[in-house]
């Protein structure tokens, strides 16, 4: 991060003013979140199934019961598999395309970029419904096209292994736009001087990429990865629309599982406990990611 010089001597008046400037944003963020957060924490220590009456006994074992649930464990495995796959693929593809789009010698690059940004503009629910139409094994256009060129026609969402791959493909289709945008924004703001210096030193394209682009882009890639990873760990809409966790339990994610325990079983206590477990996983993965990136940087 390029440091901006601070005011050498801040009048104390300005320093208090600075704090006050932050206040509305802090209030705006927490006003809607703080009460629900505390409430959910409170509920997570109680027995409470909404349809069976009012909030019940204090129960500290919700967390233990939930952690012993083999279905949650399965959902955790699926979530991590899904998250790692989509984040790696989206960052790799997104970075690759952003590099191409950053090449000023490529004509029509604004048109390409515009097209590539469109999926980001679509609500997830329509993305899911539309891919269900496209992927219908017998009546979908994709399998029809595959049959025209003599390729096998997969049953996409009906096979336990393939279903997860399909969800990953759809997610990559939908979310890579965002990565392209953020990484391209990073690339365009890289200082030209560094490249000029590298050119004078006679660096090859690969060397320029490795010694200039990559180190300078590392913070942007980190931020993009974190934002994307947090969202991916919370994936439930695509699963809900494409597979409902099936076939079997092969595509059930934690968020979808929590959603079910919450809205279908109406078990407030256990679903809140699960939500805090998910929160812990998200924080943990974010910290791991930051640590890994920092080590890689050095």
């Amino acid at each position: 991060m390029v440091k901006t010089p601070l005011f050498k001597s801040l009048p104390s008046r300005d320093r208090t003013a600075a704090k006050k400037l932050v206040a509305p944003a802090v209030i705006g963020i927490w006003i809607v979140i703080l009460f629900p957060l505390l409430y959910a924490l409170y509920v997570s220590f109680h027995d409470w199934i909404l349809s069976q009456g009012k909030i019940g006994e204090v129960n500290f074992s919700n967390y233990i019961t939930v952690l012993k649930d083999p279905l949650l464990l399965n959902a955790a495995k699926n979530t991590i598999l899904l998250t790692v796959s989509v984040v790696v693929l989206e960052i790799a593809i997104g970075f690759g395309l952003a590099l191409l789009l950053n090449n000023k010698r490529i004509r029509l690059r604004n048109l390409y970029l515009f097209i590539l940004l469109v999926p980001m503009l679509m609500p997830p629910i329509t993305v899911g419904l539309i891919w269900r139409l496209l992927l219908h094994p017998d009546l979908g256009i994709i399998n029809y096209m595959l049959s025209l060129v003599g390729l096998p026609q997969p049953i996409w969402l009906a096979d336990p292994v393939l279903a997860m791959i399909t969800i990953i493909i759809v997610d990559v289709w939908h979310e890579t736009s965002f990565i392209i945008l953020v990484l391209l924004a990073g690339l365009t703001s890289l200082p030209d001087e560094m490249y000029e210096a590298a050119m004078i030193d006679g660096a090859s394209a690969w060397q320029k990429f490795k010694f200039v682009t990559l180190p300078l882009m590392a913070p942007t890639i980190l931020v993009a990865t974190i934002i994307r990873m947090i969202a991916a760990l919370k994936t439930y809409d695509l699963v809900y629309i494409l597979t409902r966790g099936g076939p079997g339990i092969s595509t059930e994610t934690i968020s979808y599982y929590i959603y079910k325990v919450f809205f279908v079983f109406l078990d407030m206590g256990k679903s809140s406990a699960m939500a805090f477990i998910l929160l812990a996983i998200i924080i943990l993965m974010t910290l791991i990611l930051m640590r890994v990136m920092r080590t890689a940087e050095q």
Binding site: P24, L139, A158, P160, T243, G246, P247, G248, I249, K260
Partner: protein
């Protein structure tokens, strides 16, 4: 300076509130002496044809009573999510005055005490008489533990829809006789149906690929597959619970039914069927790629609509093989949180009156009243309603359990796992029985 910041923030909030304040103004009461002048009845309904028929007739009610009826239409899965927080609102403060309730939710909502008992209103009413409803409908979306909480709105009993043109094709009949040594007949048991479905699965144009499947099926978790499977279970004599709420499913019957279900999925259904929901399964039938489909009894008129279907005039409906299918239905209910229970009741009286119920039926609605089923005009338009009345009468509903949505979820999961091969039918039924006991209300 901070003052200014706060002022700006405050102003913005005020502006945005003003904007909505304008949007929410109620209409002033008009002159005249209609009973519910100026009253707005807020209704939550599912986006289905039967709801559209009600919407089409609304003007009459508004004309008669002076009330304004706002129907909020939502899809099935989202209704539950939206209703539950609403229903927990305190008495008289909810956002919905009237709702429709799917049979799965009846016990759940009533056990939680969210619905208003209607007995007194019915006793005081000269318009409503619950004897006109088919008893099976009244049991399902009418009564709960001896009290009446709902009036049946429409039925969705399941039946077997099949291609009559294929079934009555002499060449096929001859082939069937040659292979099985008996005449082709409609299946009367599940094993017969599975056998017939496999026989009907064929490559009709000789390109080496099957293009007509014996059965279109829906293996999507949880409710599509659970609902479909229950037809197999019921028809083979199995049940999850008895009427007292005890688990009565036996391992033997359960495993048999599940094995036939999975066998049909593997031998006669399209390869993608384990992931199909209603839409994909319906499209398979509508595109002429399936011989049969266990689905709602009123699908024939839909499949006769040339805008949606290539099999116009070719479909017929009969009872689920074995004669006992799954009964489904919706009921009108007034939540305890309703702000306008009296106006809501007046609406129920109107919408469930014989005249309106008949009009809805003539538009294509699925009746729940015997007098509508047997009405000459209705029968003239839909002659097969004679059979449908019997199907609705014979079908068995989903068990009246307050945790029914969870039972459906478990059922859907174990079936899907059996199809996916991550569980044996034996283990699936064992888990189903164990979970049914865990989740039982007793």
């Amino acid at each position: 300076m901070t003052k200014r910041v706060i002022t700006i923030f405050g102003l913005l909030l005020i502006v945005s509130m003003l904007l909505t304040a304008c949007a929410k103004t109620e209409q002033p009461a008009a002159d005249g002496a209609k009973e519910f002048d100026g009253v707005t009845i807020n209704v939550m309904m599912e986006g289905v044809p039967d709801t559209e028929y009600v919407q089409a007739l609304l003007d009459k009610f508004e004309e008669e009573t002076g009330a304004t009826v706002n129907i909020e239409v939502l899809n099935y899965a989202l209704m539950h999510e939206k209703l539950v927080p609403q229903l927990t609102a305190a008495k008289g403060t909810g956002s919905y005055d009237l709702i429709v309730v799917d049979n799965y939710w009846v016990a759940e909502f009533n056990r939680a005490g969210w619905l208003m008992a209607l007995d007194e209103k019915i006793a005081a009413s000269d318009k409503v008489n619950t004897d006109v409803y088919l008893p099976s409908m009244m049991e399902m979306v009418g009564k709960y533990e001896g009290k009446i909480y709902m009036l049946p709105f429409y039925n969705y009993a399941m039946a077997l829809v099949y291609r009559d043109d294929i079934f009555s094709d002499p060449a096929i009949q001859a082939e069937y006789k040659a292979r099985f040594g008996k005449d082709l007949a409609l299946p009367t048991t599940i094993p017969e149906y599975v056998e017939l479905a496999e026989f009907m699965t064929r490559d009709t144009n000789g390109d080496g690929e099957v293009d007509v499947f014996g059965a279109s099926m829906q293996g999507l978790r949880p409710d599509p597959t659970a609902m479909e499977f229950l037809n197999y279970l019921y028809s083979m004599g199995g049940q999850l619970y008895d009427t007292d709420g005890n688990v009565v499913l036996t391992q033997d019957v359960g495993v048999q039914a599940l094995n036939y279900y999975v066998q049909n999925m593997k031998t006669a259904a399209p390869p993608g069927a384990p992931s199909y929901g209603f839409d994909e399964a319906f499209a398979t039938v509508a595109q002429g790629k399936a011989f049969s489909y266990i689905t709602y009894n009123w699908m024939v008129p839909v499949l006769d609509n040339p805008e949606q279907s290539q099999v116009v005039g070719k479909m017929k409906v009969t009872a689920v093989p074995g004669g006992v299918g799954l009964l489904g239905g919706w009921g009108w209910a007034i939540p305890n949180s309703s702000a306008n229970p009296n106006a809501a009741w007046a609406f129920i009286e109107w919408v469930e009156s014989f005249e309106i119920a008949k009009e809805r039926a003539l538009m294509g609605g699925a009746p729940t009243r015997t007098d509508v089923f047997r009405d000459a005009d209705v029968l003239a338009k839909y002659p097969h309603y004679k059979d449908v009345e019997k199907i609705v009468g014979d079908s068995i509903m989903f068990p009246m359990q307050s945790r029914a949505p969870q039972i459906v979820e478990v059922l859907g999961r174990v079936i899907s796992e059996t199809i996916a091969g991550s569980m044996t039918a034996d283990a699936a039924i064992q888990e189903l029985i164990a979970e049914s006991n865990n989740l039982a209300d007793k």
